[in-house]
Symmetry: C2
Subunit: 468 residues, 2 copies
């Protein structure tokens, strides 16, 4: 009896301590971060009303009473623009919300009725509050983690190795300019700025063309650092590890030393502060991946996404010997990876979609399991933009999707089958997949609430245990 009492008291204390949770959402650009966060806030705010959250026990049992936005703690971080996002979804015609840039934050108070069992059944206050701090930041920032392991020379060599033929073509202007540079020559500020701009332009074109493995991440979203020397560096091709001594002996004003100084400043004053001031404070994290988009874009981009994700996931590998653990001792205790836009394929493909996501992340997942980071992989649609319909095709019943294209044309389509493992040559040869972007459903078409696929499952994994 006494031991039970102690345990239950302990539970109560635990619950008190857990009343606050910092949940971060990330993903490479266009993975669907804004839609996810908008839907998450909407579903929690409308729990018990229009929101359908059957896979979240607190909601299913009617214990989730709702959520309210309250003042966030860090006044210097932009607030996640939920109202603007909802306004876009409610517009005529409905639009996808504007993507966020940089980091943003939102604090929710979630009211729920704790489960009552055991000794304290019927005791205590009727409801409890969980303070949920939500953060949204570009996955591109995590691609910068490896920079911390590199110095300028090794980073230059590494970047050179990752230039595929198509990436090389997109970076043509930069390559031409950098080829003429002598690392030992005196740096000309204006020249370096111009070449760095060509390098950034190459990264931007590569992103436009669907590539993901882009470094350094801030070159794509410079913000207040636009035009600062810290964003005016680039790798020097053709360097060799054998040149190290010669290069490091070059005078301070040489091109090599100037670029190396900027690279170092970037590591110290751009990459590290994000990990130190934000990342290591997150409790939980969901990484969104647009698998279908990459599948649609062909083998070179799919390969590129795979490489980018492997890099990105290093930030969650807290093995004792990982770079991150040594530097920042982060504390994320639960991680979700989700293939978004599941509404863009028919429901029987969802299992394949998860399988493919796991295949894509096979190596990082192995490392994470080894490091004992609790992990869940799922597929979801934050805001469902299609409806499923059965049609008869050549005498057979088939499931197809109905939705509005971005141009506003109503379409009925079967997007194809998702391969359950990494696609091989013959898949690409068949071009078996036709991804179509849909715009959000209008209020009339979707009815009350914001329809989704498995947002409730994601919520259960990410916050469900704090609502018991």
């Amino acid at each position: 009896m006494r031991r039970t009492l102690a345990r239950e008291l302990n539970n109560l204390i635990e619950r008190g301590r857990d009343r606050q949770l910092r949940l971060a959402v990330t993903g490479l650009s266009r993975a669907g971060k804004t839609a996810f966060l908008t839907s998450l806030v909407y579903q929690l705010r409308h729990a018990g009303l229009e929101a359908r959250l059957d896979l979240l026990p607190a909601a299913r049992d009617g214990r989730l009473l709702g959520a309210q936005r309250v003042a966030q703690k860090d006044l210097g971080v932009p607030r996640f623009p939920y109202d603007q996002a909802m306004a876009a979804l409610e517009a005529t015609p409905p639009r996808w919300p504007e993507p966020t840039r940089g980091i943003s934050e939102l604090r929710l108070h979630i009211r729920y009725r704790p489960e009552r069992n055991g000794l304290f059944k019927g005791l205590g206050s009727d409801s409890a509050t969980l303070t949920l701090d939500l953060f949204d930041y570009p996955g591109e920032w995590l691609l910068d983690l490896p920079l911390l392991e590199h110095d300028y020379l090794s980073w230059s060599r590494r970047q050179q190795a990752t230039l595929s033929p198509e990436r090389r073509a997109l970076a043509k202007d930069w390559l031409e300019a950098v080829d003429r540079l002598d690392p030992a020559a005196d740096a000309d500020e204006a020249e370096l700025a111009a070449i760095a701009e060509r390098y950034a332009e190459g990264l931007r074109s590569a992103r436009e063309e669907g590539f993901s493995d882009l470094q350094p991440g801030r070159f794509l979203l410079p913000g207040d650092l636009e035009g600062a020397p810290v964003l005016q560096f680039f790798p020097l091709p053709g360097l060799d590890e054998d040149d190290r001594r010669r290069l490091e002996a070059l005078p301070e004003q040489s091109i090599y030393q100037t670029l190396a100084r900027r690279f170092d400043h970037y590591r110290q004053h751009v990459v590290k502060p994000f990990y130190r001031e934000h990342f290591r404070r997150f409790d939980r994290q969901i990484v969104l991946v647009d698998v279908l988009g990459a599948l649609n874009a062909g083998p070179e981009r799919f390969e590129d996404l795979s490489r980018a994700l492997a890099t990105l996931m290093q930030s969650f590998d807290y093995g004792q010997r990982s770079l991150l653990s040594r530097l920042f001792s982060p504390r994320i205790d639960r991680l979700a990876i989700a293939a978004t836009k599941a509404d863009h394929v028919t429901p029987e493909q969802h299992a394949n979609l998860v399988a493919l996501l796991e295949a894509l992340l096979a190596e990082p997942i192995k490392d994470l399991r080894f490091a004992d980071v609790p992990l869940s992989a799922l597929s979801l649609a934050s805001i469902r933009a299609t409806q499923v319909q059965a049609v008869k095709h050549q005498g057979k019943h088939e499931t197809v999707l109905r939705g509005m294209t971005l141009k506003g044309e109503e379409t009925l389509m079967f997007p194809g089958e998702v391969p359950p493992r990494l696609p091989r040559h013959d898949f690409w040869a068949r071009q078996g997949f036709a991804f179509q972007a849909f715009r959000p459903l209008s209020r009339d078409a979707r009815g009350e609430g914001l329809p989704h696929i498995r947002m409730d499952a994601a919520l259960d994994w990410l916050i469900g245990d704090k609502l018991t």
Copy 2:
């Protein structure tokens, strides 16, 4: 003899120590900061070649050998975009450079031949180098200095007092919304964000309409803080000093306390860092003022500019008891204030222009003289856009300006007389002044070099003593 030797050695050492100078350029938006800095860099780079700098002794005596841009020290501050500015001026048709946003920096190495006299005539190396760090930042940031003396309540009261009838009309949307607020009510994040946006919108409209006395300065150029709660506050009208105790006893989540917290965060994390990290490191400063623009805009805006300048100049008042001296111990040892766009009036008006500038700044100048800050007032045109021409009008010879309007029409005009003291009612009644904006001269019209008015005089005051 020995004493002379000691003195001259001392001079040499002094010179060694003075080889570095940090010169800052500021002014309210449209005062002409970008044109000034572009011209300054151009004139120094082309000294001894196309640049005419007769009022700068080092140049006149042929001792100024030129200047070169080199790597700046702070890699995290945007570099002043000199090349882009020159490209705009060289375009067909020529354009004024894009205004800079926020702070920017540029480092020059100026080569000169020291004056040789006394004992060391003919001794030592042939030339010396002065490292000139140039900074450019919005004068609006200096308008925030008084915030450091206020708390939220006193600032609210102060802001209320400065709303003129026309400013009130421009802030109508905000005033309507804020009037309905109860300071004691619980803060609603989204509501405060919306009202703050209306307040910022009011500031932006006021700036569009030619007003200058706008607080807080960062609301106009938010940069990476866009959407952050620290920029989501505004004054509460109708507060009284007698309410202080009642207001300060309000709960933490009240509207009053929420706004007061944000105001405080703004002071601590936005205003102070600029003074601490940049301002107190400047050695010399030039403040540019568009007197003619204000004269053209009528009495309410002229009055407003006068108030804004009085506030702005407080940042240079280093009297022992000034706020700034107590907080940051800045060290500016020379200050220039310049009425820009002198080419927009005929030359015989220049003396009046300086007199009017001094009248406009009479109070701050008095304080600065008292605080023993060396000060020079002048009029100049960074990049001259007009040519002076004599015409015969009603039998009399008159001087007029010839230039191209922004629309590209060639114009011949007499803009009117500049009053040598603060204009009184009858001046405004006569509407005696017709300011016309001109575009830069084309290469053909201006010939070699970048023509200016008294840039050399400004340079002499700001750096001349370091080139001896």
